[in-house]
Symmetry: C2
């Protein structure tokens, strides 16, 4: 595996930890995922900007403890790496519904690995026309 | 001015070039703003992801030549710097309307300065409650 592929894999693993923390309603894991030494910010669908670790994690905790039961998918993830920073682009959809959010997830590499510094999920005008391949059978 | 403030100013200047290119419908300036050596991607409001300089700039050209006449504002910009990468968060609104888009603009520092690698504008559920101060008088 090339160094480039290794980096992309590590970033995608951090991105997967984000969706696992969400789906398991795990506030502690969400807290570990977000960066502690870099500035952070978050834009939930339709909401205004949250800046700083305290506000971002407080809002995540609210969401995780109150949200209805469903599995959030990260469809079609693409990684772009900029040295110690990386972005994952993907689409989010719940359960077996078509994806309806376009997402920017930004990560930075800190001493112990990749951590999230920004999540932006924005509503799409129309859901993606197809479900991920694994759900088509 | 500290080095940190100088960096933030330079990033905000690149961000201002983005809105100037948009408002002046200047495809050439838009092309100069976007990075040439780093990967790029763009998420227009409600649309699906565009990846790569050719697709991103083609779509910008379509928008710039066809859009109605209005001035797009960048309200309440905030800069976060991650070494050679930086993010500007802001809200966009047209003319004197309340801002209705939440925005993530990502820049990287290339040989000749800061360039855009990602723009994500997502619809807000409710416009921001206030216009920028300069418009209140």
């Amino acid at each position: 595996m090339t160094a480039e592929n290794e980096t992309a894999s590590a970033v995608l693993a951090a991105n997967a930890r984000f969706y696992r923390a969400f789906n398991e309603r795990d506030s502690a894991a969400m807290g570990e995922l977000w960066a502690t030494r870099s500035p952070v910010a978050c834009l939930h669908p339709g909401e205004s900007l949250l800046v700083g670790r305290q506000l971002v994690l407080r809002r995540w905790h609210q969401i995780l403890v109150s949200r209805p039961a469903f599995t959030l998918r990260c469809d079609r993830p693409i990684v772009q790496v900029f040295g110690p920073t990386a972005i994952v682009y993907c689409y989010e959809g719940g359960n077996d519904e078509l994806a309806h959010l376009a997402v920017t997830n930004v990560f930075v590499h800190e001493a112990d690995g990749w951590h999230m510094v920004h999540h932006h999920a924005g509503p799409m005008a129309h859901p993606l026309p197809d479900l991920p391949a694994k759900n088509l059978n």
